[in-house]
Assembly symmetry: C2
Homo-oligomer: 373 residues x 2
């Protein structure tokens, strides 16, 4: 391939919340700096629209007020929530948590990567170019397309991170909610490959069908009238005491209550503190942005915690993280394959009608951004 | 002293929840078994009425329906909650989580304790005698009365257990709610003695006054209109990221939000995941028996967990537990002193009017049970 050696400029998507109570999305053109000795310039070819990106882009803005306004797209932010975002007010943020592209420039210590296709972390992958540390990217195997590599980091490493967390915490099975998501499907394939009992919680018969077709063993549909009974049967069958929840709201409490019921059933003697078996729910998402509401039906041996991939990486250490990344590269075409059904460009990404489509975060409707489209 | 060598019988208080939906308190007389080689028979002289005892005695019974009925005291249990108590239905439970008394019989390996005053764990201390393992009791220093030793275990070890937990978790300061309770006052004295920053959360000006008189440095009154500002100032001053909460309801979320606000203020760069500093709330009580309601204003580095003294003992190991018990014996007259203002007998303890008084769990109104009264 030909490597461009002239000055580069990059169009990039920014999100700014103003102290005046507006949320503004815009495309700005900026010169691309030269890479440092250990850095790369990556020409981004594909970036997924992940829930975390939507969260950063729109924060708590009222999407019913979205309008295109002289090159910017603007929405109103309710005044009451502004203090929560004090740290970002009037500071434009670069959007895009991951992506894939080709290394077009490389620092002195990273020349070997020139011309390779890599997956990189953001922020700032909703752009034509991004400078990144060479040791922070995943070199994609030959033949992997940009679309195939676009989501090679966050979802695959999150699925692997859940399994690492399970092992660090001393558990042997897990529950996952929002199980029909791209991440959920990956986790199901990973658990099947590893022989780890996984309870998949979905919210529709169609999602249950999808996972059943992918070999899922335990599926519970939270929209069914007998969800509690389904969950009880699955929890009892797997002896699970750990869950990863993308939802929040009442879900963590429902999961803890189900695990507690099964735990109490295993007890020889009554204790009014309930089961002594530790039960853990990690909340890694906020599909329900309201309060987490947890009735006291979980005994005393319980924990609900926030969870982020980067917390796990810090806890597990660099060797484990390296092993996780190698595993992604090894199984990118199979366990860690992502699928997208709509590709949009940078200008599309700030169009109100397109935003309304991708901001639904509907399972089965995944968007890919091509910054050169 | 004279040791009685004839057969002993013990009057004891029992609580039974029936599958028919009633809660029954009664006094039953039972023979006292001979002690095994490593066991003692303790003549109980005083036992405190702790919140945990009230919880075991009445569970979810409707106290407005309490009536004395032929030697028993009976209340209705709402049918909806019965399944939660499946493990105790139609099984009488011995009441009383701790107490103090004199060793009147001792097994072959425990003869040295004969005649000593000891503090013991329950269950079953709301009784005239109790058989217990010799190595599970705390031998009280000479001159300590039964009333002074009655609550020498649970509250003092809980206060010490909170400090041990703080250290195991790598924290250096803590928040405590229900801070004017006997336990809270102990914790305040302990933290002052150890130089540990403690934020005392109370719910009235009178309670604030009480703790102020005991040298408390940080006091926040949750009934004040500016509670959030008080809490913010105290959290910022102490850099605290750990709380022990006796309440539940909205309190854990309020504490996490306050710690998150202070954490975000310390950040150099904005992150839409919030502060990276881990924040922990341990919930060890249920003064608010409703759901724990936690708004999403706490970033992603948070954890809310159940906490029990016995979980800490298991986590810290027997050597630490031994050290904790020695510390209680050393400082029983000072840091770990309890106060009681009403003494009742076994028959009183099942009288509806007395129950209504002690079941309020009012701070500053502590009941002591004397089974011989």
């Amino acid at each position: 391939m030909t490597i461009d050696t002239g000055p580069l400029t990059s169009l990039q998507l920014q999100s700014e919340m103003t102290s005046g109570g507006t949320l503004e999305l815009s495309l700005v053109e900026a010169p691309v700096p030269d890479p440092g000795d250990d850095e790369l310039v990556v020409r981004i070819e594909a970036a997924p629209v992940n829930p975390t990106d939507i969260g950063l882009m729109f924060a708590a803005a009222d999407l019913t007020t979205l309008t295109a306004n002289g090159g910017k797209t603007v929405a109103t932010v309710p005044p009451a929530v502004l203090p929560r975002f004090a740290g970002r007010l009037d500071r434009p943020l670069a959007v895009g948590s991951e992506g894939a592209g080709t290394v077009v420039r490389a620092g002195a210590n990273a020349q070997a990567l020139l011309g390779r296709r890599v997956a990189i972390f953001g922020p700032g992958t909703y752009a034509q170019y991004r400078v990144t540390r060479a040791d922070a990217c995943l070199v994609l195997p030959d033949g992997v397309t940009a679309a195939q590599g676009a989501a090679a980091l966050i979802n695959p490493l999150t699925a692997l991170g859940m399994i690492e967390t399970m092992r660090l915490d001393g558990h042997g099975a897990l529950i996952h909610t929002a199980a029909a998501s791209n991440l959920g499907q990956m986790l199901n394939r990973l658990c099947l490959a590893e022989g780890i009992p996984l309870i998949n919680i979905v919210r529709s018969a169609a999602q249950a069908e999808l996972l059943l077709g992918q070999g899922a063993v335990h599926i519970c549909n939270s929209s069914d009238a007998d969800f509690v009974a389904q969950l009880d049967a699955a929890v009892t069958a797997t002896d699970v005491r750990l869950a990863f929840d993308a939802i929040g709201g009442e879900m963590p409490g429902r999961l803890l209550a189900a695990m507690e019921v099964a735990g109490v059933r295993r007890m020889a003697d009554y204790s009014h503190y309930g089961s002594t078996e530790p039960k853990q729910v990690y909340v890694y998402g906020a599909l329900d942005p309201g309060p987490i509401v947890t009735p006291r039906a979980m005994g005393m041996a319980w924990s609900i915690s926030g969870w982020l991939l980067f917390q796990l990486v810090q806890r597990a250490g660099p060797d484990v993280f390296k092993r996780m990344r190698q595993r992604v590269a090894d199984d990118l075409g199979t366990i860690f394959a992502s699928s997208f059904d709509t590709t949009i460009g940078l200008a599309d990404a700030i169009r109100p009608d397109v935003i309304h489509a991708y901001a639904q975060r509907a399972t089965g409707r995944k968007f890919l951004l091509d910054p050169w489209r």
